[in-house]
């Protein structure tokens, strides 16, 4: 009995610790502005998306999305505190208010987006990915069927784990999942030969392979097991922050559609100022219309964003382009005009 009581006391003490966050009902947007710093949850371990460089800075597509948000909300893309999070920690970190928003290779799904599920809200997709399988060339495995009864290394607590199960189950193939908490362990397990294949998003496979000793000895199979639209996310109860995030992402895509880049943004602003007839451009750059105010940002937020990160195409080229360390063909991540799926609603 005495032991039981002490346990209850311990539990209660624990609960007190985690119960004091999210006290004020106002939007997190104001909190970020007052704090003058954005707390952005990232992975920190995926080259090309968010990776801690040897000079101590974070770099990658996900990191640039954080920078775009900081530029739009605070006006300074450097005022960011990055929080590296594991897949398992990320949603709790948003719900408890430990981070303002998440920009961490997170797949946009119904359960995560709904109030009855994880209770988040997603911004528009910043990278369309799909789950794939990587095998050693010498293994002569060429499709999913060749992997029957084999072990497969997979990261636990992700949609990856569910997708691989769905794929094998619907094909009635038995398999053994070897689950690790961390992508680095998945890679180690695969390279050490514990599994015949490793599975993850194809972008992550490509990123991991770029770090191998002999990248050419590994192939990514043609089987694509899932749609993996990766998107930033925030607390589902905070509509204001979600609105701001949504339109910051669209501004990156819209800027690329209109050919507005980091280098010509000043010129474009001048043109817009001098030509009152260019209504859409004037609205987009915040000279007319007061669009920014409607989402709790300054009217010229687009200018601040493009000045600090460039448009979506520039961000992509910088981290995943042909000359980057993790080249991934743009494929469906092109603009809709060029055969991809990225499109922005009008800034009206």
């Amino acid at each position: 009995m005495r032991r039981l009581v002490s346990v209850i006391v311990g539990l209660a003490a624990l609960s007190a610790g985690c119960a004091t966050t999210n006290q004020d009902n106002s939007s997190r947007l104001n909190l970020i502005k007052n704090r003058n710093e954005l707390i952005c949850g990232v992975s920190g371990k995926i080259p090309g998306f968010s990776f801690l460089k040897s000079d101590g800075t974070y770099q990658g597509l996900d990191v640039d999305i954080c920078k775009a948000f900081a530029a739009a909300i605070i006006g300074d893309s450097e005022k960011i505190q990055y929080r590296p999070l594991t897949a398992a920690e990320r949603f709790t970190a948003i719900k408890t208010g430990e981070i303002d928003l998440l920009s961490r290779n997170t797949t946009f799904t119904l359960s995560r987006d709904s109030s009855g599920g994880n209770g988040l809200t997603f911004a528009p997709v910043v990278f369309h990915d799909g789950q794939g399988l990587m095998v050693k060339k010498e293994s002569e495995i060429s499709s999913l069927k060749d992997l029957a009864n084999k072990s497969i290394c997979v990261g636990s607590g992700t949609t990856t784990e569910q997708n691989i199960n769905d794929a094998f189950e619907s094909a009635s193939l038995p398999y053994t999942p070897i689950k690790y908490q961390d992508l680095n362990q998945v890679v180690a397990g695969y390279l050490q030969g514990r599994c015949s294949a490793m599975t993850s998003d194809r972008s992550q496979l490509a990123a991991a392979r770029s770090g191998f000793k002999n990248p050419k000895e590994h192939i990514i199979l043609d089987d694509v097991l899932s749609k993996e639209p990766l998107a930033p996310a925030s607390d589902g109860q905070d509509q204001k922050l979600a609105d701001a995030m949504r339109w910051v992402v669209y501004s990156l895509i819209s800027a690329e559609e209109q050919g507005i880049t980091k280098s010509n943004i000043d010129k474009k602003v001048q043109i817009a100022k001098n030509n009152p007839q260019l209504k859409p451009l004037r609205r987009f750059l915040g000279i007319d219309g007061g669009l920014g105010e409607k989402i709790g940002l300054s009217n010229d937020f687009v200018v601040k964003v493009i000045k600090s990160t460039g448009n979506y195409g520039e961000i992509y080229e910088r981290h995943l382009g042909q000359n980057s360390e993790v080249p991934i063909p743009r494929g469906q991540n092109e603009l809709y005009k060029k055969g991809g799926v990225h499109i922005s609603p009008p800034f009206n």
């Binding site: 985690c18 119960a19 398992a88």
Partner: protein
């Protein structure tokens, strides 16, 4: 008068104490509801839709989350019980070697204890897994007449298979804990006065018989409490399974939290599972302790 005062004081303290707990629990519930994380356990009956590499009982991905958790608990129990036995055996051997008359053995066991106790357990687990087992290449396996078979997939012993994840955890936990158990055993043996050793030697009782019949029974009351706390540590350390890909209850909890977003409920379940496990160990050890004390009174 004095008794009344005492009662009053105790009554007051309990009111404050339970009031505090009530406030804390109330605070927790209100805040959980506010963040949209109100308590709900109905997801437990939904299908888990993830596969498990190891399951002592039948399991498929269409089974419920509750069943998956139970399988995880069994997996934990399996590794805890087997590590507990192996660690006790190893620890006892080393503890005796450390206190014995053979100075070479004493030196070796002292070195063993020093090395094991001064490196982190996580590192040791990683070592056993990534270097020890996965270091064995696919084609480089030892095979004896289809009875004993060792490769980087694990060990196969006449039909029984032990995965390398389980074995790495078993070795890591047992060896780590055995170093601590050895010290507990040594402490127990040293608590028996030297006169006892001299007495049985002078009576011509053999060293082995003397240790088992004379020294150990007197050392046990000092050993058991220390041993219990090492067993509890072992049980708790087993959650590091997640580092080597073993599907213990913590690893499965981790997956479920991510799929359902029910972190608080999952941690409560986790706490209760470990509470059950550790209460089981504590009570079993208490019974053993009582039996030993009782048997000594009659001797």
């Amino acid at each position: 008068m004095k008794i009344n005062q005492k009662l009053f004081l105790q009554f007051g303290i309990s009111i404050i104490f339970f009031g505090l707990i009530g406030i804390l629990i109330n605070n927790l519930t209100i805040n959980l509801i506010r963040t949209g994380l109100g308590f709900d356990f109905s997801w437990l009956l939904k299908p888990a839709s993830f596969a498990l590499a190891e399951h002592p009982l039948p399991y498929t991905s269409s089974d419920s989350y509750a069943w998956a958790l139970f399988i995880g608990w069994l997996n934990s129990l399996k590794v805890i019980v087997s590590s507990l036995i192996l660690a006790t055996f190893l620890g006892t051997l080393i503890g005796f070697a450390r206190t014995g008359t053979n100075s070479l053995l004493g030196l070796i066991s002292a070195g063993y204890i020093t090395i094991i106790r001064q490196t982190p357990l996580l590192l040791q687990l990683m070592f056993w897994y990534f270097v020890g087992f996965l270091g064995l290449k696919d084609n480089m396996f030892i095979q004896i007449k289809n009875i004993f078979n060792i490769s980087n997939k694990g060990i196969e012993l006449s039909g029984l298979t032990f995965s390398s994840e389980f074995l790495a955890l078993l070795f890591g936990l047992s060896i780590f804990t055995s170093a601590y158990i050895a010290e507990v055993i040594r402490g127990g043996i040293l608590s028996v006065s030297r006169g006892q050793w001299e007495a049985f030697r002078s009576l011509g009782i053999s060293e082995r018989k003397g240790v088992i019949r004379i020294i150990l029974p007197q050392a046990l009351p000092a050993i058991i409490p220390g041993l219990t706390s090492q067993y509890l540590n072992l049980a708790k350390n087993s959650t590091l399974a997640i580092a080597v890909g073993y599907s213990d209850i913590y690893a499965i909890n981790d997956t479920i939290i991510n799929q359902t977003g029910r972190a608080i409920e999952c941690f409560i379940i986790l706490l209760i599972s470990f509470l059950l496990l550790n209460l089981l160990i504590t009570n079993a050890m208490e019974i053993i302790n009582r039996l030993i004390l009782k048997s000594q009174r009659y001797d």
